[in-house]
């Protein structure tokens, strides 16, 4: 940086150096964030492919010990899909209806303020606490599924899903232009029909995106499931009776075993889990892009 031959004067060297220095740091910070991401994805793919085979997707761990080769995560995949499906069936209607109340009915009322506050509180609940709650209420107090139960896991996951669904739906409902509501009321359409057939369909893509992201988030939750579904090595397709497995707890179980075969299985399960989550994330983004409201 030679001094320019103009009378404009130049920016002092120290200011320029500081500017460059910050620029360098900012680039460095980004690189710093990419390193763990790349390392993580790379190791999961590298180790995960070792057992990414047909047996893995068609067999359970029944009768397979940690040191044995073979075995699979079929039971865990089944468990995860069932638990997350049930959790969605519970939390989507609950979340969407609550959001409808907050945006369409309770506007600025005392109750809606209180609900809104506690939705924030709920968002911050550590996942293990959600698990403890289901343990304390469902299993210890009501005595249901004491030996572990897939459905209890779903309940715990729902607690984590509901606030996400509420917030996503709320955002989307707020984006629906008021003109649309007024136009519908002006036609004499009752409020509930307006909400069900005009407002919710308009907001649907955004709500779907939010739900997909919520599903992707709870799919990787481990802590609440550890306390609720118990761990089983066998296939159990009935979430309402007896312990079930799940991909996250399968990884936890296998990773805690010092044998290489078990660790290979943990990595493969991690790969499967990441793939499913990415699939949901991708779907969420595609929905969001396909229905992106124009003019925003």
């Amino acid at each position: 940086m030679s001094t320019p031959s103009t009378s404009l004067g130049s920016v002092s060297a120290s200011r320029k150096i500081k500017d460059r220095l910050v620029q360098g740091l900012v680039y460095l910070a980004f690189a710093l964030a990419v390193i763990p991401l790349v390392s993580l994805l790379w190791t999961v793919v590298k180790h995960g492919t070792a057992r990414f085979d047909a047996t893995f997707f068609s067999h359970s761990m029944n009768g397979v010990a940690g040191r044995d080769a073979g075995g699979g995560a079929y039971h865990a995949i089944i468990g995860t899909l069932e638990q997350v499906l049930i959790a969605s069936v519970i939390s989507v209607p609950l979340g969407v209806l609550t959001a409808v109340y907050l945006v369409e009915y309770g506007r600025r009322g005392r109750l809606s303020k209180v609900i809104s506050f506690f939705v924030d509180v709920m968002t911050g609940i550590p996942s293990i606490v959600a698990g403890l709650f289901i343990l304390a209420m469902w299993m210890l107090t009501l005595g249901i599924g004491k030996q572990g139960q897939g459905f209890a896991g779903s309940l715990a996951l729902s607690i984590l899903m509901v606030p996400t669904v509420i917030r996503a739906t709320e955002e989307m409902l707020k984006l629906v232009p008021n003109d649309l509501r007024e136009a519908s009321y002006a036609l004499g359409v009752p409020r509930w029909r307006t909400i069900c057939f005009v407002i919710l369909p308009t907001a649907l893509p955004g709500i779907l995106t939010g739900v997909m992201l919520a599903v992707a988030r709870v799919m990787g939750e481990t802590a609440p499931l550890l306390l609720t579904i118990a761990v089983t090595k066998a296939i159990n397709t009935n979430p309402f009776s007896g312990p079930q497995s799940s991909l996250p707890t399968f990884i936890w179980d296998q990773a805690g075993d010092p044998n290489q075969h078990a660790i290979d299985r943990a990595w493969s399960a991690a790969l499967v889990l990441i793939l499913i989550i990415m699939l949901f994330n991708l779907a969420a983004r595609l929905i969001a892009r396909a229905y992106k409201p124009t003019g925003r």
């Binding site: 500081k18 763990p36 609900i115 709920m122 609940i125 509930w192 802590a223 306390l227 990884i251 936890w252």
Partner: protein, 326 residues
């Protein structure tokens, strides 16, 4: 109405029909509004139930406890008599989360600035997506990666820090290891990075263009522009974001549980193996917990719940205060 003229009767009939149609609408409305309101109330009920059941199930264990629940460092709820306290867990939770915050916040702010003000516009949202991907990775996978990939690397780093910064008590000790609170906090830092960074990014992007241009027109370099216009505006948003990150780090279970090796007792040498947190302790000891043990774990979960609640509420209050500007 029957005594009125034909026209009036027609009007009346239409009116009645209208009322009927409206009234069906009203019934529907009542049901639907009731369902919506009911859902909202159910959410409140769930929150209340969480508090009630955690307290209720914690009380018997707390009554049996022969040690001080707050100050004891032991965790032996399965023994007779049961003795357990949260001192070590609280220490581990606060230390690991605090350390992760110290590491993650500057990096997250820098990343947010990078995406908002340094990267080429065309790829900015793509880069944002890359950072968000970090948030999509489940904690169990972070745990696996932390245990199998990161921890072996942390051995050397810990030894180096111990050599250079050993005079600071937290970095002191004789045997720096790889399954330490420090390693756990590195994993946590990576996990909360995307949360802090994405909220900060949003805040930075909301800085009015007028403020940015005012700084540039005064002859500010890019960094000076950021210091003059962006950081003061985004300050409280960033503080709120990091507190949300703190709350998340405190509640994180599995990744910490996988990385840490449990050693009883508070050890202020954070580079040495050992330590535990509320959440990790629950995950690790649940398997062999007796009924009293479960109650003790629920009691510790309740404490964690209250702590994260306070942190999150404070964070939201700070973020909300930001609206006072503009």
């Amino acid at each position: 109405m029957s005594t009125q003229s034909g026209v009036d009767a027609a009007v009346g009939a239409r009116h009645r029909a209208d009322t009927r149609r409206l009234s069906t609408g009203r019934t529907g409305d009542r049901i639907f509004a009731g369902a919506a309101r009911g859902s909202g109330i159910l959410v409140l009920a769930i929150m209340a139930a969480i508090a009630v059941f955690l307290i209720w199930k914690a009380i018997p264990a707390l009554q049996d406890n022969k040690a001080n629940f707050i100050t004891s460092q032991d965790w032996n709820p399965n023994a007779t008599p049961p003795k357990f306290g949260i001192a070590q867990l609280a220490f581990g939770t606060v230390m690991s989360a605090g350390l992760s915050l110290v590491m993650a916040t500057p990096v997250a702010i820098a990343i947010a600035l990078f995406i908002a003000y340094y990267s080429p516009r065309k790829i900015a949202s793509g880069l944002g997506y890359v950072v968000d991907l970090l948030a999509a990775v489940p904690s169990i996978v972070y745990g696996l990666w932390g245990l199998r990939v990161l921890a072996p690397h942390m051995d050397g780093i810990s030894r180096f820090l111990n050599d250079v910064l050993g005079w600071i008590p937290f970095f002191g000790g004789d045997s720096p290891g790889k399954n330490s609170i420090f390693t756990a906090s590195v994993v946590l830092a990576i996990m909360i990075l995307p949360i802090i960074s994405s909220i900060s990014r949003e805040v930075f992007l909301q800085v009015p263009r007028a403020n940015v241009e005012a700084a540039l027109a005064l002859g500010a370099t890019r960094w000076e522009m950021i210091r003059l216009a962006v950081l003061p505006y985004g300050q409280s948003g960033v503080i709120g974001a990091s507190m949300l990150g703190l709350g998340r780090a405190m509640g994180e279970t599995i990744a910490v549980a996988m990385v840490l090796t449990f050693v009883p007792g508070i050890n202020i040498h954070l580079l040495e193996d050992g330590g535990s947190t509320f959440a990790a302790n629950i995950a690790k000891s649940f398997g062999e917990a007796s009924p009293t043990g479960r109650g003790a774990l629920i009691a510790s979960g309740l404490v964690l719940f209250v702590i994260t609640l306070v942190v999150n509420m404070a964070a939201r209050a700070v973020v909300a205060r930001r609206k006072e500007f503009v």
